[in-house]
Each structure stands twice: as C-alpha cells, then as structure tokens.
C-alpha cells in the first residue's frame, strides 16, 4: 500500500536531512505509529506521502502511484486516495459540521445526491449524529477532531494519515479518538499516525516505526513507545 525506498529529504535551509535513507513498507489495512521526538521527521514523512513535497532522493509508492514522479495534474488522484487529519483540525470556521464534510466531496465533483446520502452516514460513524448543523466553534476539541476525521474519511480513502491528531486533546478524549481511528482501520483502511504520546502507543500495541534525526531507528510489530523516551 505504501512503500518508501531509501528516501532522503533535505530542506534547502538546513544542513541535516529531515529524512535520511528511510525505507518502510506498510501493507494494506495495517495500523502504524510513526513516533520520535519533535523534529525527528514525522511530519516530513507524511508530507512526502501526500506529495506536499518531493523527496531529494529515493522512491515513494502509494498504491500503484509513483509519488515523487507523479505529474502535477495527477496529484489530485493521489490525494483522493488519502485522507489526512492534523493536530489543529483545519475546519472551515464559517461552515457547519455538515458543510465542512460535504465540502470535501463537493470539490472533487461528487453529486449532490451522493453527498446528501454519504455525509450523514459518516457523521454517524464518527459519533456526531445530530450535530450536522453546529458550527465548529460550538464543538469541543474532541468533537472538532471527529469532524476532521469524518471529512478525511468520507470519500473512503485507502489510506488515512494522521499527524499528531491527539496533540491538542486531553487523555480521555484522545482515547476516544484512538477508538475511532481503530474503527476506521477495521474497515480495511490503512492508518499511519504520527505521535509522541507514550500512553496511546503503549495502550494500542500496534506496529511502531521510530524516527530519530530523520533515521528509522526501530520498526517493530505490537510495540510500545519505549523506555526512557
């Protein structure tokens, strides 16, 4: 589903590579934690998968798409197969919950009838039934992240990328969000989640890919965050 081969990313402004010869393969339906301290390259890893940026060296595959070589006009095709959520939710503040989710479908040309059918379904899946008319600022942080997840998942992507999705949430709310991501993972969606939250990683016991200074220092199934970090 996702394959990186000796991927190196150098940003122009820094001397140390943000990613240094990273090779990782993630199979269909897997749930992977991408961990490591701040600045270790987790966000860069996800940005490259999304073609927000291109690697300096190395190859990246997402499904059958050669991401680094993808021509500009095919980038939307890649991104339609990938859902993304961030620490800061990135909801549109002047649209309702329902409109926020519908927006993601509108802009990729889905028909109004599809949108009317699918949006309530996904809101129910993330536990926001009955809140479609609310504005984002009328929701708690956890609920806002659910909207973001609904928006990322509404087009049934093959892959869901999450960059510290619980970074702004308290532990209980974080656990709820993790249950939701787990549920999405059970539908067959591959999930890659960057985090440096020990307790979440430890409680889930999933595959862990650990980055440090841009290098993969550990890639272990059913793992914990690790000692002394």
């Amino acid at each position: 589903m996702i394959r990186l081969e000796r991927v190196t990313k150098m940003y122009k402004t820094s001397t140390r590579p943000a990613l240094d010869r990273v090779s990782v393969e993630v199979g269909k339906g897997e749930f992977v934690f991408l961990i490591g301290p701040s600045g270790s390259g987790k966000s860069t890893f996800l940005r490259l998968l999304l073609r927000e940026d291109v690697p300096t060296r190395g190859k990246i595959w997402v499904t059958d798409l050669d991401v680094a070589k993808l021509p500009r006009r095919k980038v939307p095709r890649l991104r339609q197969r990938i859902g993304v959520v961030f620490q800061d939710f990135r909801l549109l503040p002047n649209k309702t919950v329902g409109e926020n989710v519908a927006f993601a479908l509108e802009v990729i040309g889905k028909s109004p009838s599809t949108i009317r059918k699918v949006v309530p379904e996904v809101l129910e899946l993330v536990g926001l039934e009955g809140k479609a008319e609310r504005m984002p600022h009328e929701l708690s942080g956890g609920e806002q992240q659910r909207v973001a997840i609904a928006r990322a998942f509404v087009n049934r992507p093959l892959v869901l990328l999450a960059d510290e999705p619980t970074g702004n949430l308290d532990p209980d709310t974080s656990q709820d969000i993790m249950l939701l991501l787990e549920r999405i993972n059970r539908t067959g969606t591959t999930v890659v989640m960057a985090t440096h939250d020990h307790s979440i990683v430890d409680s889930m016991r999933r595959r862990v890919v650990e980055l440090d200074m841009g290098r993969v220092v550990r890639d272990e199934a059913h793992a914990v965050y690790g000692v002394g970090r």
Partner: protein, 304 residues
C-alpha cells in the same frame, strides 16, 4: 464540474473584498474607456481618410490671362496642360472649372457674407481639377508627380494640393489617438497589477479553503476556477461600465463638440452604432485580459 459550487465561491470571494473588487472594476473600466476612445479615434481617422481620398484633388490654378481668355479649355495653353495631365498614368481624371463656375461655387460657399458680394468672376482663377490615381492605398506618388509636372509651366499660377489642408486635421486626430493609447497602456498596466493583487489577496483570504481543497484532492479547476471567474467577472463589469462611459462621453461631449464639422461632412460623425460596436469589443477584451492576468498570477504566486 459543479457550477453551483463555483458560483457560491465566487460570490463569497467578491463579497469578502468589496473595496478591492470596486477598485479593480473602476481601474479596468477607466483603462477600457481609453482603449475604446482610441479605437473610436482610429475608426474616425480611417473614415475621414476614406472620405477625403475620394474627394481630394490637386487644383492647378491658371494665370489671370489664361483664365479670362479661355472659358472651355480649348485654347493651346490650357489644352496643352490638360492633355499633359490626361496622358499621365497617375491621373484618374481632369475637369476644367472656368471663371464663371468658380464664381458660382464661391458664391455658394460664402453665401450671405460680404466677400461674396465683393468678388468678381474676373478675379477668380480658372482651375484644372485633377483626380489622382490611388497607388497602394495612397495618392502620395501621384500628387508629387502632378505637382512636379505643373509647377512653373506657362499658364499655371499655383498648384494647390488639398491634401495639405486636411493633413493638419489628420495630424490632430492621430495625436488624439496616440495619446489615448499611451494613457490606455499605462492605465492597463495599473489594471493588470490591481487584478493580480486582488487575485492574490483573494487567494490569501481563502487559504484555509484552498488548503482543504488541495488536501482532499480537488483538481486545479476547482481550486483555481473561482479566482479566475472572479477576475473575469470584474473584467466584464469593468468593460460594461466602460461602454456606458463611452456612451455618456459621446452624448455629452463628442456630439456637441463635433456637431458642426460632422454635419458639414468635414469628418464623419461618431455614430451610436460605432460606440456600441466598440463597447461590444471591450467586453471580450476585458474578460480575456482579466482571465489571463488571473491565470498567470495563480501560476506564479499562489500555491493551489
């Protein structure tokens, strides 16, 4: 492509920067008014030249003695001059206006004025009126040749090129056209910069939406079209205002300013149809310029 989506986004965009939108519409309108004025000037000049190129003649005025002696150009001096002219390949035709005819035309021209009463047929010269052949859209060559052939000939008093008289008018109209186009150019640059700036501001105020669109895999049509449509709409509205401006300008200034000479047939009038035609051209011009500017701006400055 969902048109309702684009319409909604465009409406939001235009409403969000009303002041910018208005500034952009007005600047576009002013520059297009100037372009329109320039086009009308060109059209008037062309039409004027067309009128005169048919009418303009070289007049060979004959000396007093020949004029008085010869009523129908049959005597040797006049007949000689005439056949010289008629044999030239650059001459389309020659007519003879004797003193009596000159006198009548003079009376019509200055009817009611005191010079008409003072004039006597004997004081006016008879003239050979020479129509010129048009070579490559110009009678320049023919005029020069005729002048050279007639100057200092026996019986010739002066050679008058009517084209000299109107060339001043053409110079003036040409000047109007050039100044208008120069101003239009400067104004157009201002309009382009403003359109470009508005597109950038518009993209900036909607960066969250555009960011979401990019992430969920919206194609460039979806992310860019609203901005382009916005630019094109302001271009078109600017052009419509410019058309209205031209119309007002015609009725308020041109009509009264040129009324006298246009009625006399000195220059052709600027008609309503002319103004409407030019205005109709301005709309696609405005739309295309705004659209191209918007597109280039998005390509260069806005990551969408």
């Amino acid at each position: 492509m969902r048109t309702d989506f684009v319409v909604r986004e465009v409406a939001t965009g235009l409403r969000r920067n009303v002041t910018m939108t208005v500034a952009m519409v007005l600047t576009t309108a002013i520059s297009l008014v100037m372009v329109g004025t320039g086009l009308l000037a060109v059209k008037t000049i062309d039409a004027t030249e067309a009128i005169y190129s048919d009418r303009l003649e070289i007049r060979v005025a004959l000396t007093q003695d020949v004029s008085t002696a010869d009523a129908d150009c049959t005597q040797p001096i006049c007949a000689g001059l005439r056949s010289t002219l008629e044999n030239s390949p650059l001459v389309a035709g020659v007519t003879y206006e004797n003193q009596q005819e000159a006198y009548q035309r003079f009376q019509e021209l200055f009817a009611g004025q005191s010079v008409a009463e003072l004039a006597r047929p004997q004081s006016l010269p008879a003239t050979l009126r020479v129509k010129l052949v048009d070579r490559d859209g110009s009678t320049e060559a023919a005029a020069a040749a005729v002048k050279q052939a007639m100057d200092n000939q026996v019986g010739v008093r002066t050679v008058i090129d009517q084209r000299d008289v109107v060339s001043k008018l053409f110079d003036f109209l040409g000047g109007v056209r050039n100044v208008t186009f120069a101003l239009a150019l400067v104004q157009a640059v201002a309009a382009l910069l403003l359109i470009s700036n508005t597109v950038q501001v518009s993209a900036y105020t909607r960066r969250t939406e555009v960011g979401v669109m990019r992430l969920v895999g919206a194609t460039r049509w979806y992310t860019q079209l609203p901005f382009l449509v916005e630019a094109v709409i302001t271009g078109v509205v600017g052009a419509v205002l410019a058309g209205a401006g031209l119309l007002v300008g015609k009725i308020a200034f041109i009509d009264s300013l040129l009324a006298g000479i246009a009625q006399n047939g000195v220059i052709p009038p600027v008609t309503l149809a002319d103004v409407l035609t030019v205005s109709a051209y301005l709309v696609p011009i405005g739309a295309v310029i705004a659209g191209i500017t918007g597109y280039v701006t998005l390509r260069l400055y806005v990551k969408v």
